[in-house]
């Protein structure tokens, strides 16, 4: 593990520790909790997308499996929330193996479509299996989490818990990237044939990482269920998978820190947009939240067209270009 990564994690931990003292408002704290949940999912997705080079449009399905497992095992069977969360992760991982085995043999477009199909099926089942999932009206009265009798019943406590999970996840991911498996994965991304000739077991490694990223998503889904205490199929549609890919892409798909920054930026974006809409209202321009889809699509397109390595790399390169232009002008004189 790189020294820089240690500093990074320390820095993030310091910010997280300080934030609740600066943000007293429960509403904003809530947004930061959702940010943590998105970060957690994006860490897993980034491992898959950026390091193993495999696209998944199906991560909303693993979020759904985690959330519904937590909700159903606790409310219907009276399980302990931790057991339900673990069960959710186990189910997600088994499903990931079952879906991953045939799917990850597929490449590029086929993989994207297969995972998209899988996510759509899970969403259809969430809506249609009314007897089990409650259908469109969802599941309510989900219990809160508690740590050794210490109930996570305030937003501040949940905030700390979720961000601790993010930091642990980050630590795990960074270690993984710098391990033998991580280097093997990056080799797969470069060239599958070359990697396999050098003794990297492509299929097994890809499935391992798919399963791990499914577990991250499932955990995030469970935490969501235990925080909001009510779930319905709405947030687990395919659009959410696209949003997750956007988050990873904005930060730069080849960097785990990029996933964290991208997830944070895009989770805070709706707030930024609502500020913007208040500003625009003064000029009699109506901004509706309906336009958010358009904004996300626009961001994803611009990033992919002009900054395929993410926002920061794009900005760095464009500033470098401006400096170079200035430099050339100077030489011309």
């Amino acid at each position: 593990m790189n020294v820089k990564d240690y500093y990074g994690i320390g820095f993030l931990a310091a910010i997280v520790a300080a934030l609740p003292f600066m943000v007293a408002n429960d509403y904003y704290l809530g947004i930061l909790i959702f940010t943590a949940l998105n970060c957690l999912t994006c860490i897993g997705l980034c491992l898959l997308l950026g390091y193993a080079g495999q696209i998944s449009m199906g991560h909303s399905a693993f979020l759904a499996i985690g959330a519904y497992s937590s909700a159903l095992f606790t409310t219907k069977l009276g399980w302990n929330p931790w057991a339900a969360m673990g069960a959710g992760m186990a189910i997600s991982m088994v499903v990931a193996v079952l879906v991953g085995l045939p799917t990850l043999k597929l490449k590029g477009h086929y993989l994207a479509m297969a995972t998209l199909g899988f996510a759509s099926i899970v969403h259809v089942v969430c809506v249609a299996a009314v007897d089990i999932t409650g259908g469109p009206s969802g599941v309510s009265n989900i219990p809160r989490l508690s740590l050794f009798g210490f109930e996570l019943n305030t937003d501040t406590r949940i905030f700390y818990f979720c961000w601790t999970m993010v930091i642990l996840g980050l630590y795990l991911a960074v270690n993984l990237i710098h391990s033998r498996v991580g280097r093997g994965l990056q080799a797969i991304h470069g060239s599958e044939d070359a990697a396999s000739s050098l003794g990297v077991n492509i299929t097994v490694d890809k499935i391992k990482i798919f399963v791990l990223s499914a577990a991250f998503a499932s955990l995030s889904g469970s935490l969501y269920a235990h925080y909001v205490l009510y779930i319905d199929p709405g947030p687990f549609d395919v659009m959410h998978s696209v949003l997750l890919i956007t988050m990873v892409a904005v930060g730069g798909i080849h960097s785990i820190w990029g996933a964290i920054t991208g997830a944070t930026l895009l989770s805070l974006l709706p707030e930024g947009l609502s500020f913007l809409s208040e500003g625009l209202a003064k000029f009699n321009i109506q901004y509706k939240t309906d336009y958010d889809t358009l904004v996300y699509g626009g961001i994803l397109l611009v990033i992919m067209l002009f900054m395929p390595e993410g926002l920061f790399d794009g900005l760095r390169r464009s500033t470098a270009m401006v400096f170079r232009l200035n430099g050339e002008k100077g030489q011309g004189k």
């Binding site: 080079g53 998209l116 199909g117 759509s120 099926i121 956007t246 358009l294 904004v295």
Partner: protein
């Protein structure tokens, strides 16, 4: 016990939606053949065609043939714009990047459709009367006959275009071997643009003819797109005649499962078939696996 007329009814329903899947699949194939790209925005062309047609016929009160041509032309232009502004400028494209770009375009088109038409679903008048006709004990809408007729017409045009016109032959040459085509003086960049134009046009027509039956809304694109892709894969990706048969087959299978199992899971069935084909025979039931190995995904 199912009556014969019931089975016939499901068959009609299935063929009706199957025709639409076939058209969407043909759109996928055109772009895939020219570029090797799967266009995730394919379903959005269908939605755009349907919604534009609703506005032109119901609000502007244009006669149907005129609205049909205007809508198809407009969506074709949208297809050209997509290629010019998002696919053409990409230098050193990787598959991952192109996939994400077409996904982004689909989100943008969905966003625009929502901004312009809102979230409600739109009713459109049928091409010629909405009274169902009796067909051996089952009922069939005149619109269904229109859908089948238009599919047949498009297939005929498709065969004529790709076999008997110079441009069509150039496009086929590009699909088979782009480098060789370029060496023979074919402008392959223009063929790519043309494939997006045709594909968008076919998508628009699919949207126009199905809207009187399903009532179009902005969010239908993704599902129509993925089912159309299912048909394209089932028929062997790139093989349009296979796609047409597979589309109709998928439609019938879906209608049958809605009738015999449950209509709630209808959408899941088509997707399940798609996954099953991808996992077991990615070359499709009408495609040859030897030819598939030569293609890149």
């Amino acid at each position: 016990m199912m009556e014969h007329s019931d089975i016939l009814q499901y068959l009609i329903m299935g063929v009706q939606s199957g025709c639409i899947y076939a058209l969407v699949a043909m759109g996928f194939n055109m772009i895939y053949n020219a570029t090797g790209i799967i266009n995730f925005a394919q379903g959005e062309f269908v939605v755009l065609g349907g919604l534009l047609m609703v506005t032109l016929t119901m609000t502007v009160q244009l006669p149907i043939p005129l609205a049909f041509i205007t809508t198809t032309a407009a969506v074709t232009l949208a297809g050209i714009a997509m290629e010019r502004f998002t696919i053409n400028p990409v230098k050193n494209p990787t598959v991952l990047r192109l996939i994400i770009i077409t996904i982004a375009v689909s989100i943008i088109m969905k966003g625009i459709a929502m901004g312009v038409w809102g979230k409600s679903s739109y009713f459109m008048r049928h091409f010629s009367g909405s009274e169902s006709l009796d067909f051996f004990g089952a009922t069939i809408l005149p619109q269904t006959l229109w859908i089948m007729g238009i599919l047949v017409l498009i297939v005929a045009l498709y065969i004529f275009f790709f076999n008997y016109t110079m441009t069509g032959k150039c496009m086929r040459a590009c699909a088979i071997n782009r480098d060789a085509a370029r060496l023979s003086g074919i402008n392959d960049r223009r063929m790519v643009m043309l494939s997006f134009a045709l594909s968008a046009g076919i998508g628009a027509i699919a949207g126009i003819i199905i809207t009187p039956i399903i009532q179009m809304d902005y969010a239908r694109g993704a599902l129509l797109g993925i089912k159309g892709f299912g048909a394209a894969v089932l028929g062997g990706l790139g093989n349009s005649m296979g796609a047409i048969m597979a589309g109709v087959l998928l439609g019938v299978l879906e209608a049958a499962s809605a009738g015999f199992i449950s209509s709630h899971y209808m959408d899941a069935i088509a997707l399940f078939v798609l996954l099953l084909v991808l996992f077991t025979r990615p070359s499709g039931i009408f495609g040859s696996s030897a030819a598939m190995k030569l293609k890149e995904f």
